[in-house]
Subunit: 299 residues, 2 copies
Amino acid sequence: MTRIGIDIQGGDYAPEVVWQGLELALPELKAGTELNLYGLEADAARSPEGHRYHLCSQAIEMGEHPVKALQQKQDATLIRGVVDLAQKKIDSFASAGHSGALMVASMQILGLQEGINRPVVVSLFPRIDGGQIAVLDVGLNVDAQAEQFLEFAQLGASYAKAVLAKREPKIALLNTGAEESKGSVVYKRAHELLKESVEGFSGNMEARDFFQSDVDVLLCDGFTGNIILKQTESFYTLSKELGLKHEFLNRLDYENYGASPIRGVRGKVFLAHGPSGPRAIKNMILGAESIALANFVHS
Amino acid sequence: MTRIGIDIQGGDYAPEVVWQGLELALPELKAGTELNLYGLEADAARSPEGHRYHLCSQAIEMGEHPVKALQQKQDATLIRGVVDLAQKKIDSFASAGHSGALMVASMQILGLQEGINRPVVVSLFPRIDGGQIAVLDVGLNVDAQAEQFLEFAQLGASYAKAVLAKREPKIALLNTGAEESKGSVVYKRAHELLKESVEGFSGNMEARDFFQSDVDVLLCDGFTGNIILKQTESFYTLSKELGLKHEFLNRLDYENYGASPIRGVRGKVFLAHGPSGPRAIKNMILGAESIALANFVHS
């Protein structure tokens, strides 16, 4: 049985939108998948048959301080889910709630993987050749140091192996030019370190090849990754505004991705955008199901 | 008379492609515009009537060290053009040649504007509302410190006033979220400084609003700006590969922009991509003409 944990109170429009997304996801779940819903008493009656509802007395609000929330709200939906994940009562946990709180809870309750000092957020983007490129970090490590890129490479490689089924993932460093000498101080040093010790490292990749490369894992700091993620959203919005239609463009819609995995912690945690709509929540749940089934070497 | 300097030896496919671009530009030049062509003896006979050919004995190759090139090749096409610009013999100078050499020559021969410590490269992008957004820096200052963002704001504002005809340009800081507390250490500090002292500063802008905002000037470090520039190229290439058609997409084609101005130096210098084709060169020349006519307060 696959046991998926869902934070009913997670998201700007929770709980209503989470229920709507859940309804969309239910018919598509695999037989043998059990949802474990972490919600408040008011919503308990809405829990679908054949799944489990975990009654919680608290919820973390968007403006709260993550560390304080973790200390003071032990019975919050988000915390309870992470605790159950740590105790192996569920196989993965997904929330569109407070990303900082989810990050801190994941680090403190699940703990970090060996050799990892900071978790990362991974985002998948479509390539025009039909493949996908995993980009990390896309949000947490905005001041990443060169040494952290080795952790990004390790986490990206294990992700590509487990989720993209790449035995020998091709790894590249996002940079301003193909030459080793390109980029900022941090990126130049990161290039040296990656070249020295990372198997499958193919050098720098320029953003002009973003959709066109055959790279499986693209490494960048969390600031740059966040810009790339959001500029892609801007392209998608633009294409809709212009009335452009193509199957590939649908693959750029973040609602189709639903959520991004947090990697580097000892458990499978899935983070969705706060303003997620029902379709994004649906895909978050299906993503949490598929990642629960994935076999990570390092987690 | 408007006197435009052109580096005949600038670009990966020079001089042939420069001549081709020049031929495309000639019919569109304003009456009263004089081209000043800096080229080698072999090409002198190709100079069109009514324009001036400056015979040079050297050319700077792509792999050369910028500072050495400046010291050892005083008679190179690129250097001679910048010297003539400094001596007010021409009103603007454009090259698709060695960007580092053009930057160093501009700084050393033209000198920096008052209050400016480093030049920047500006790039214009279309907005869906029909306007344009000037992004800087897009390439030079890959390790920008927070204080430099004040220079970016000054140079961006004067550019928007002169070229986009914005009396009170709206200025924003590219960042990972709208809140002041978002971003890396440098961006948080840059936000504080901009808020304190820059008129027209409207706060952070997320990349998801890149094409959709009403911002005139977007500030970022040269690393991030380069990524944005090139990811837009990737999106343009993608749209062509998918067979998408829309007038707006043509505006994303960098060949239609042709070149980017270097700002912060005492003179109007225009830099095109090394691999520019004839159409990009044509637009570089027309851009150099229009910038020669622009009235910059600070230059």
